[in-house]
């Protein structure tokens, strides 16, 4: 068996993943988006190190201030620096989104791969279930799940993960299916190598780029939905703060200081946009037939 495995390594094609990344960064929108995402991650995850003010520093002399040099994003109802609050809030938002994305990718891929590999009625059932849930808009589903599971940070991660699993499952399934129909796979099988081994060692890695592109889009959607849920008060609960809750506070204080909600809003926009651009460009780099 191992005598076959060695030449298999040469028959089987392995796409060079390094070049995908390089090609991606050659496109200006993708490069900028990538830089922005890195910046966001540093700014939020590294908030304790990078934030200009300590998180709970009050300044009662400057409530609801607009943007100034000292406070580029203004201040909130307690005089806290908004930039700092946005950075710490981002930590929560990105954490939730990242974890949700991992759950969605993990479960979704497992679901999709099993369906693709097994085919037959297992495939049918798994995909019908996925299809049913795709009919309901994400925010509505999210609300229902919040009603079901409550709205703590932990349940939010679970809810968002569940929300994006079916679509990911569909993608994983079609990605693996197209790999299973390639010539090199059929050739490897006909030589007598055990299919399972090939799938795990060669085919799955080949589906990685498509799935990574998808992961970026899922993360963007997760931020989007989490912000929406938190905005209506059904997401992250106080005292924890996320971008959505900041916007909620800003909304109630709208007539007092309209700057309050503007900056967190712009930051959400930028985050989602960058992740969308990244995912989109990754998809285009990987599949030249798409425009």
């Amino acid at each position: 068996m191992s005598a076959i495995a060695a030449p298999l390594g040469r028959i089987v094609q392995r796409r060079r993943r390094g070049t995908v990344f390089v090609r991606l960064l050659r496109r200006p929108p993708a490069a900028i988006a990538f830089a922005v995402v890195v910046l966001l991650v540093i700014g939020t995850v590294g908030a304790p190190l990078v934030a200009p003010y300590p998180q709970s520093q009050f300044d009662f002399t400057h409530l609801y201030a607009g943007p100034t040099l000292a406070h580029p994003f203004g201040t909130d109802e307690l005089g806290r620096d908004m930039l700092t609050r946005v950075m710490y809030g981002g930590r929560t938002s990105l954490e939730i989104a990242a974890l949700a994305m991992l759950i969605a990718m993990g479960v979704g891929c497992a679901w999709g791969f099993v369906a693709a590999f097994r085919r037959g009625w297992v495939d049918e059932i798994l995909m019908r279930i996925a299809d049913l849930t795709l009919g309901i808009p994400a925010i509505l589903m999210g609300l229902v799940l919040v009603a079901a599971f409550g709205s703590s940070t932990a349940s939010l991660v679970l809810i968002l993960g569940i929300l994006f699993t079916p679509a990911t499952a569909r993608l994983a399934r079609s990605a693996l299916l197209s790999e299973l129909q390639t010539d090199y796979y059929l050739a490897a099988i006909s030589v007598g190598a055990p299919p399972w081994q090939i799938v795990v060692r060669e085919l799955l890695p080949n589906t990685l780029p498509v799935l990574i592109a998808r992961a970026s889009l899922v993360a963007a959607d997760a931020i989007f939905v989490e912000a929406s849920l938190s905005f209506v008060g059904l997401g992250v609960q106080p005292p924890a703060a996320s971008w959505g809750t900041l916007l909620q506070h800003g909304y109630t204080a709208l007539y007092r200081s309209y700057w309050y909600p503007i900056f967190p809003g712009i930051v959400i926009l930028v985050a989602v946009l960058s992740l969308n651009l990244l995912g989109d460009n990754l998809q285009r780099v990987l599949d030249p037939s798409r425009r």
Binding site: L132, P137, L145, A147, A227, Y251, L254, Y258, L269
Partner: protein, 322 residues
């Protein structure tokens, strides 16, 4: 053709039934207990018999299939059950608020299409690089901005700074058409932007696809000007494949409506839904989600039937000849 319509109708009904089961089960599998909400939050120190009484009132002491059948039976008669929280039947709650939501949705769809279709068409006729870049930018930003962010920005500009339009409230169109439009303009615009962006994207892609088809070259070869080629030949053919996506996007309108109604404090089904989630009022929730699923199924049914009307290749298959 008629058989096709009947088959589609049956499939839709089947989907609706399946969705109702899914929704019903989803809300029952959960850890929460509506009786708690009714009692105001906690069951400590409450007489177990009072608890039993409440459960009996809400019909929660029956078996699951029994509850489901009662629910569905009620729906068929137009009765969505009794709200767990308020003393009104669910149907009343819904009918009170449905007008606001429908007005908003219709207004938003019309506005959204008014933005998306002409822009895509102009883009195809003009083929100007800068215009295309701006449109792409608008599409990307529009799809990345949550509705409440757009809503808040619009409020800041038009309500707070300029004071032209109200930032809240609702006036029924039957009461006072002009005021109704004023109160709906900002929320409808917010929603319209949210749906115009993805529709624009799909439509542009479809237009670009069709523009490279041989029959478009034939049309140009007849001596038609670019404007006529795009409007009379490219657009009708591009609309057909784009229709599916448009149906999906319109269906997803419901999610955005929830948020927008909240931002603009419109008493519609969206705010009802948010309230119900807070209060764990499952009776209302399951009715609303079922309604949402029904709207989605209906819109995809309409799209499928529309295909049959718009694409002559799908119509009567009798007259093949040589």
């Amino acid at each position: 053709m008629r058989r096709y319509v009947v088959r589609r109708l049956l499939t839709s009904v089947g989907l609706l039934v399946l969705s109702s089961i899914l929704i019903f089960c989803l809300l029952r599998v959960i850890p929460g207990d509506p009786t708690i909400t009714k009692l105001g939050g906690s069951i400590e120190g409450v007489d177990p018999r009072a608890l039993q009484a409440i459960r009996h009132d809400l019909g929660l002491d029956r078996s699951l299939p029994d509850q489901y059948i009662r629910w569905v039976g009620g729906i068929v008669r137009g009765d969505f059950g009794q709200s767990y929280y308020s003393q009104f039947p669910v149907t009343t709650l819904i009918t009170q608020r449905i007008a606001a939501t429908i007005e908003l949705a219709v207004f938003a769809i019309v506005l959204g299409l008014l933005i998306a279709v002409p822009t895509a068409t102009i883009s195809a006729i003009w083929r100007n690089r800068w215009f295309d870049a701006v449109v792409s930018g608008f599409t990307a930003v529009g799809m990345a901005t949550p509705a409440f962010v757009t809503g808040i920005l619009l409020i800041v500009v038009f309500a707070v700074k300029l004071g032209w339009l109200p930032s809240q409230g609702y006036v029924s169109i039957t009461q006072h058409p002009f005021e109704s439009l004023k109160s709906a303009l900002l929320p409808a615009t917010t929603l319209a932007i949210a749906i115009a962006a993805p529709i624009l994207r799909v439509l542009r892609a479809s237009l670009a696809d069709v523009a490279s088809a041989p029959y478009i070259r034939t049309a140009a070869g007849k001596g038609l000007l670019r404007r006529a080629v795009v409007v009379r030949h490219v657009l009708p053919n591009a609309a057909i494949p784009a229709l599916t996506m448009v149906g999906v996007i319109v269906g997803s309108l419901l999610g955005g409506t929830v948020i927008v109604e909240y931002v603009f404090a419109r008493p519609g089904l969206g705010t009802l839904m948010v309230d119900s989630v807070f209060k764990r009022d499952y009776a209302v929730l399951q009715a609303l989600v079922l309604l949402a699923a029904a709207v989605f199924i209906l819109s995809s049914l309409v799209v499928d039937l529309l295909y049959g009307v718009l694409d002559p290749r799908l119509r009567v298959r009798g007259q093949e000849s040589s």
